[in-house]
């Protein structure tokens, strides 16, 4: 929990150093929560917010939503739906790739095919 809060606080406060729009109050207002609640999230005093709030927060801070969701111990509902359609295959795929380096992961990522034009 603190990992999530620490990360959010650092990301927000770094931006706040050069841009007042990233004050606790303004960020909270934009993502639709009370400043006091965001403060508690940042200090790890409450559990991370809902998936929708985390995504709004990531978007506002320019952070990757999947990374923030993972820090909150969550998996995006879109990813859950994908895995649940073919649980056996995806579970095996993830296990197989768990220790693969980033460049190897890129090799299994689907590429946009280029044709003749």
């Amino acid at each position: 929990m603190t990992g999530f809060g620490d990360y959010v606080r650092m990301a927000r406060s770094t931006r706040a150093e050069t841009d007042v729009r990233f004050s606790l109050r303004q960020v909270a207002q934009r993502i639709g929560v009370e400043p006091a609640y965001l403060s508690k999230i940042e200090r790890g005093l409450v559990a991370p917010p809902s998936e929708a709030t985390i995504i709004r927060l990531a978007t506002d801070l320019g952070e990757d939503p999947d990374v923030l969701l993972a820090l909150a111990g969550k998996v995006g509902s879109d990813l859950q739906a994908i895995i649940l359609r073919r649980p056996k295959e995806f579970a095996e795929l993830i296990r197989q790739l768990k220790n693969a380096p980033d460049h190897a992961l890129l090799k299994v990522v689907r590429e946009v095919r280029d044709g003749n034009w």
Partner: protein, 347 residues
Amino acid sequence: MITLEGNHLTFRFPEVHESAKSVLQFQRTLRIPDNGKHYPLPPGLGAFPLRHVEDFTDRVPKGWRERAGVMMPLYQAEAMWISFDAGWRSRGGYPCAIKVAAGKINAISGKPWTPELDGSERDYIVVPEQPWLDGFCIAKDVIRQFVAMPLGSGYSVEEQITGKPEHGGLQFIVYPMLRERYEALLQQRERSSDHWAVAGASSLVLRCAAEPVRAMGLAAGGRMRQQIYADPHGLDAWDQSSSNRCFVTLVDAVQWREITGEAPPTKPPTAADYTKAGLPWFDYYAADLETLGGAQALALAKSVAEMAEEKGEQVLGPDGEVNPDTIINIGPGEISLPKALPRESKR
């Protein structure tokens, strides 16, 4: 390699540098009036959905399958802009040179598509310096907005220049900066507290009967103030041995559901309604960068309004009175400014 991540097209060059990547996104926007006035930059209203063409091979024409790439839905007379994100959130991003064409007509030079970078032609843009491209470059600091029209109707810039409705869509080829040039640049950035590079820093109508799938081309819309920046690094900065290219097919939005099973985005508001609501427009200037002049071939192309009048057709809805009062001026390093505003990734 090019990947489709959400609605972003990500061009990566791991063989050049682990950080070498550039992200393209296509933003829905207002169509500005085509009345001779020059308008500021309109907002972004969210990204167009992108899908792999090869996922719908049984529902798209053979020519589309052969070109592959990705596709996205646009309504007739809908406007769009292209967002280039070289990773400005990670402080600076990786510089890339990008050629952009519509219907295989270069959007900067007005010349037919060639994949190579040619310094004498000055027909490419450089990211992160160029955060956005909203249209065809017709004069210095003036573009005509990208507006979708059915391919074959004679409105697209491609048809006006070549006389044929052959390709439509958008075409891109991206070249990363040479590894050694990037590393030198990185050192320079680290020495300087001035993150110049942060500059770049950067929902319908259903048809019941199955009709032939309709491709769209990009035509010239209203005039907009937008600078197109010249390459500040020089031609020798780019790794021309590494490139990725992509064809983006534009699909008539009313046929999007027939092809993909998904609802297309709703039509955007009119520029008049948006402005009346007091919502902001934008201006972006990088005073210290050289800007490119416009292409005569593109300047000579008739706009949608001009051609509709000539043809006696009614293809555009009424523009209404559009007097942007709220204009937010932004410059390099301030791209994240309008986050709180109705613009998803920029302005």
